[in-house]
């Protein structure tokens, strides 16, 4: 169902939210957030803890239903669409806790993602050998992220950084239009951060990336556009130079500096 003729006249803004709001039993986690994510851009969502970044992620990917507001993906209204359907339309997310299938092999993790688009997901009468035709593509994806040496290992046995890399490889298997990464660098060592930064930069060339990230060095280095959130609202938006000069942003970050 994902439109294929989009490449010709790709709209600049691929994902947009207007007046996004979500209440949790009287507590307003997100109130009136406007957000535009553009093709070819790496867009960061930053802000102190509890600012509502992950809630925004959950709203955009439909894991949570917004109390009010409107979300558009590639020109389609997805405000009331199911999360699985949104994923099939090309908006694929990662999670704060690395989202892999720990007891499947690295190769199988990627093949599970490839199964659905190739129509191999509901065939309960065929043997697992039917999945062999997905192996070349899966290996290619693993090679592109440098995980080909680990193809037969259990995903759960990988180091933390490599789990995140595997997660990105799995996500890329779906060739998403918009990639949402929830703290992709959290808990990573320096080398892993560099690897994943390079990976994100290369995958963002022909898609849009929105990421929640706490490491401001990474954000400054990687992201074209930054939205700063505080207490469920957008505090500021712009490129790194603009945002880092903003007085309100400074105050917001100073206020949480001891955390």
């Amino acid at each position: 169902m994902a439109p294929t003729d989009l490449d010709k006249n790709e709209p600049r803004v691929v994902l947009s939210a207007r007046g996004l709001r979500r209440d949790f039993a009287g507590f307003v986690a997100v109130k009136s957030v406007d957000l535009d994510v553009s093709h070819g851009n790496i867009h960061a969502l930053i802000g102190p803890n509890g600012a509502g970044k992950t809630t925004v992620f959950n709203l955009l990917t439909k894991f949570l239903a917004p109390t009010s507001g409107r979300i558009e993906l590639l020109g389609h209204d997805i405000t009331r669409t199911s999360p699985a359907r949104v994923a099939r339309m090309g908006l694929v997310r990662s999670f704060q806790i690395s989202a892999i299938f720990p007891h499947l092999s690295v190769l199988d993790n990627v093949r599970v993602a490839l199964q659905r688009p190739s129509g191999l997901a509901v065939q309960f009468w065929r043997s697992l050998a039917a999945l062999d035709r997905l192996t070349p593509r899966a290996e290619e994806l693993l090679r592109s992220v440098g995980l080909d040496d680990a193809r037969n290992r259990l995903a759960g046995d990988l180091s933390y950084g490599r789990k995140r890399v595997l997660e990105i490889a799995t996500t890329l298997a779906l060739d998403p239009k918009v990639l949402l990464l929830d703290e992709p660098m959290a808990g990573m060592g320096h080398e892993d951060v560099a690897t994943v930064s390079d990976l994100i930069r290369s995958v963002a060339k022909d898609r849009a990336v929105l990421m929640v990230e706490h490491n401001l060095t990474v954000v400054a280095d990687l992201c074209d556009w930054i939205t700063v959130m505080q207490r469920g609202e957008v505090l500021a938006a712009g490129d790194y130079a603009t945002v880092s000069r903003d007085e309100r942003v400074k105050v917001a970050y100073m206020g949480t500096a001891d955390e």
Binding site: F63, V112, R116, F124, W125, L128
Partner: protein, 330 residues
């Protein structure tokens, strides 16, 4: 460098473990089939057939609990419901046994579709409670509906001629037919578990949110597994109706739903052989105790407690775990 070496060791260890368990499984399967082929000459066939029916029932249940991660407390509906459908079709409408069994399977699948539709969106205890509530509703339907003949049940169901040639009234013919259906049923479950669809079920069990974010409508996959499990449980129930020539309320009670949970847990959930062993043990025990006067439910209750306290993986699960540990040490 050192990490790479340890990777290699770990990898070969896992391969050895996988090979060992695969070899063991095939050896067990071969021996098991052989034993079942000669068994009716050594053991009372009607007991064996009862065992096989319940073993298939437990395997079908395990498809849902062990391989999809859903605990249904209403599987008696499919087992007992299918028994009623088959018994009615064969006795009242005069259908041949194979058609009666197919009707039972189809009916169980339909019941599974309805129950699954209502239960599948809930998780854990809520899922179990909805299946229990719906199966209780079905139980009362069976109590009230005239076609089940109430407390008496449908009795005197003729076994008939299988596809018009094989006389099922002869005990050995009946036995080998039951064995064939049992093997086909278990093979079907094995095939479903080890299929592209089974792979998606596994990934949903491992990380449901990730499966959703990869575009899988997980509710549909769970519903698919639920219907398949219901249909196979129905196959076991239909078979039982033909073997024992009756269908009664006992098979649709909640106790029957509990019994299949017990059999599966006792044998080992998520293993192919476990439910078969579990069912054989429970049925064997019931048969032995039936003549002794000792209350069966106390015995099975005690065994269940021992199982939960001491070998939580079930008999087969615990056996595998020990074996793999020993292979790991060598």
């Amino acid at each position: 460098m050192s990490e790479g070496t340890s990777d290699m060791v770990e990898l070969t260890l896992r391969e050895t473990q996988a090979k060992t368990s695969a070899r063991l499984e095939w050896t067990l399967v071969g021996l098991g089939i052989l034993a079942l082929l000669v068994a009716p000459f050594l053991v009372y066939p009607i007991f064996l057939m009862k065992m096989l029916c319940f073993a298939l029932f437990a395997c079908a249940f395990n498809l849902l609990l062990g391989y999809t991660g859903l605990l249904s407390f209403g599987h008696a509906t499919f087992f007992g419901g299918a028994a009623y459908f088959t018994a009615h079709a064969v006795k009242v409408w005069g259908w041949p046994p194979e058609a009666g069994i197919l009707l039972g399977v189809a009916g169980a699948a339909l019941l599974g579709l309805v129950m699954g539709f209502f239960a599948i969106r809930r998780q854990g205890i809520y899922f179990a409670m909805i299946t229990l509530a719906l199966s209780q509703m079905f139980f009362f339907f069976c109590v009230q509906s005239p076609f089940t003949e109430g407390e008496d049940g449908i009795q005197g169901v003729p076994r008939g001629m299988l596809v018009g040639v094989l006389d099922l009234n002869r005990s050995l013919n009946m036995y080998y037919f039951v064995l064939a259906v049992f093997l086909i049923g278990v093979f079907a479950i094995w095939r479903i578990v080890n299929s592209p669809f089974g792979m998606i079920l596994r990934s949903i069990r491992e990380n449901e949110n990730r499966a959703i974010s990869l575009g899988y409508s997980v509710a549909n996959y769970k519903l698919g597994a639920f219907v398949m499990s219901a249909a196979l449980a129905g196959l076991a129930g239909s078979l039982k109706a033909i073997v024992f020539q009756f269908a009664t309320l006992t098979d649709v009670t909640w106790q029957m739903s509990g019994e299949v949970i017990l059999m599966t847990l006792l044998g080992g959930i998520g293993t192919m052989v476990g439910p078969i062993i579990g069912a054989s043990l429970v049925i064997g025990l019931e048969n032995t105790l039936a003549t002794s006067g000792f209350p069966v439910s106390i015995a099975t209750g005690l065994i269940f407690m021992v199982c939960v306290l001491i070998f939580r993986r079930g008999i087969v699960g615990e056996f595998y775990a020990r074996l793999l540990k020993r292979v790991g040490k060598d």
